[in-house]
């Protein structure tokens, strides 16, 4: 099982609608990264959250880390076709400087 659980696994959203993707751990997260992956391409860094309660935004994408640092959400407002892809969350393990743990990803499809 994944140490980071992402939900939903896939999502089909009408263009213009809002959506939320979640990333949950049973343990405290030490740095939480959100990435986007387009089909057949590498991962593009979106945002990093470190502190409990932290929230960051970039264009129409907002990411939050809860106060307990065990859950993060990624919210997209007024979705566009360019938002389609796979969203992955990753986080540092407490016991390793180098190894990140990763969610399995959420596949987002935007319907025109």
């Amino acid at each position: 099982s994944q140490e980071l659980e992402q939900s939903p696994q896939s999502l089909i959203v009408q263009e213009g609608k809002n959506l939320t993707i979640n990333c949950t751990s049973s343990k405290t997260l030490y740095g939480l990264y959100w990435y986007k992956q387009k089909y057949g391409e590498g991962l593009i860094f979106l945002m990093m959250l470190q502190k409990g309660g932290e929230e960051k935004s970039h264009e129409k994408i907002t990411a939050k880390l809860d106060e307990k640092k065990q859950q993060s959400s990624l919210h997209i407002t007024a979705s566009q076709p360019s938002h389609a892809g796979i969203y992955l969350c990753g986080a540092h393990r407490m016991d390793s400087n180098y190894q990140l743990i990763w969610g399995a990803g959420t596949k987002l499809i935007i319907k025109p």
Binding site: Y30, G31, E41, G42, F45, H92, Y98, Q99, L100, A104
Partner: protein, 116 residues
């Protein structure tokens, strides 16, 4: 975009043959990583490097070896390819090893390897 080039982008090879994948960076970052991505497993770390000639194993290192003779190049070798090593392989780089230093990973575009 971070200057990371992976080669080849696609490769088909036969079981039992050795395969080498190359990652080349132009960012002069100290830390480099090899991941594999498989459906249902997400990203899994194979090996990483924290400097020239300094490498260590990740969580799925069996059957793989790496070398880093220059800052800019990190090679991943499958010593004797097996069908279970069919995957998409990603190279990543970072300036610093750990969160807290605001140093995210930057990824290459991946190599799709098929072992028949």
């Amino acid at each position: 975009d971070a200057g990371i080039t992976q080669s080849p982008r696609h490769k088909v090879t036969e079981t039992g043959t050795p395969v080498t994948l190359r990652c080349h960076q132009t960012e002069n970052h100290r830390y480099m990583y090899w991941y594999r991505q498989d459906p249902g497993h997400g990203l899994r770390l194979i090996h990483y490097s924290y400097g020239v000639k300094d490498t260590d194993k990740g969580e799925v290192s069996d059957g793989y070896s790496v070398s880093r003779s220059k800052t800019e190049d990190f090679l991943l070798t499958l010593e004797s390819a097996t069908s279970s090593q069919t995957s998409v392989y990603f190279c990543a780089i970072s300036e610093r090893p750990r969160t807290g230093y605001n140093s995210p990973l930057h990824f290459g575009n991946g190599t799709r390897l098929t072992v028949t």
